[in-house]
Point group: C2
């Protein structure tokens, strides 16, 4: 009997693991700029936007008295600061809203949909992402992701890697942590999941950050599964 | 422009509206009894089990200091009382667990899957049920319900008809209440949804309670849509 025979559900990191946020957003912002006649270094904007991600969640984590703030709101707050910093002028409130919703319009990696479709035949599958519920729901419809349910940090009012996110997902599914497998392209996410008792699967996405990729080229922990992509993961999980 | 043109998401009552809990559970319990050689009036048990549903949620509603209790737990507590009352002996803890999970194995009405599949092409669709997340997730896999996401009283720690359930669903979807339509076979559910600003659709399920049906034979409020079944609802909603 293998370590993973008791797994009943697979939960997925989304940004970078399931979808290629960087290429998608650069294309989305560039198309917007062309249509509106606004010139900017959209690639640099997207990279800076993602750099603001971790610090923006840390503010929520360190100020629980302010209440939980969903990722759409953090994305918009970061964008407001960055368009000023990058000197991008002439954006209306509607424009900024449209750009923020670019995070709902991310394209999957080539193997994501086929691999998830295979895994869904045997397991409950869902995101376990810091993206908010509406973001993940709209993204699933846009990208054709066949989730069984949407699980988000928003439901637990705690961003990963807080324990409430991982343990909350298992509790919602009526499962023990060891019956849930976290799938991610980020060793740090799996490190937390493993610490709280979940099984772990690493799938490398070595072009996630484009030329700025400086980590997660390979598995760096004792993960239960290391797979080349989602179809390889499906095969290894008996689908 | 119609009243329902701004609707972006349809949320569904599940027990009775999407699935035929009574026939499904009677068949499930009867099959269990035959396999285990246990004779009982399974039909009467199922009817009594459902009668315990509203009072069991009322206890949770009136004792917030005890914390929220998910429906699987309430179902099991009610079953424990009823098997004693009905004099059904010889059931192990595993047997009682199996019977309780019968609520995860409910069959859809004949039009449910085809109607939902059509509605999903244009709208976000999800349950908004007093069933807990695991129950609704497992049921969707068992019955082939193509939900975009699972919404449950469990997420809001409030059973319908508390306002937190209806308003919580709209908030999770980043929508205004009037952009969400509640679909139910129960006038009382729509009454609450309408009071809190949601749009409403009634679909009659006049055999839900079998010979004991004594209400909800027809629409009794000023609902935005009254449809014969889910395919008629899809047609009326432009799908």
């Amino acid at each position: 009997m293998s370590e993973t025979d008791n797994v009943k559900a697979l939960v997925f990191d989304v940004f970078g693991t399931v979808v290629d946020w960087r290429s998608s957003l650069i294309a989305d912002c560039t198309a917007f700029g062309k249509a509106r006649g606004i010139t900017a270094d959209w690639t640099a904007l997207v990279d800076a936007w993602r750099q603001a991600y971790m610090p923006s969640m840390d503010v929520v984590r360190h100020h629980p008295e302010r209440g939980f703030v969903k990722l759409d709101t953090l994305h918009r707050q970061s964008l407001d600061v960055l368009v000023a910093k990058f000197g991008i002028n002439g954006l209306s409130d509607d424009d900024l809203h449209h750009l923020t919703l670019g995070w709902h319009r991310l394209h999957p990696w080539a193997d994501s949909v086929s691999g998830l479709t295979r895994l869904k035949t045997k397991y409950v599958i869902g995101p376990l992402s810091n993206g908010n519920v509406a973001l993940l729901t709209n993204m699933a419809k846009f990208a054709g992701l066949p989730w069984d349910l949407i699980m988000s940090a928003e439901l637990f009012e705690h961003y990963k890697p807080d324990p409430q996110a991982y343990l909350g997902a298992a509790a919602l599914l009526n499962l023990k942590p060891a019956e849930v497998m976290m799938v991610a392209a980020h060793n740090s996410d799996l490190d937390a999941a493993q610490k709280f008792g979940l099984k772990t699967a690493f799938v490398p996405r070595i072009t996630e950050y484009g030329p700025h990729q400086n980590r997660d080229f390979k598995a760096e922990g004792a993960w239960d599964v290391v797979a080349a992509d989602f179809n390889d993961l499906a095969r290894r999980m008996g689908c």
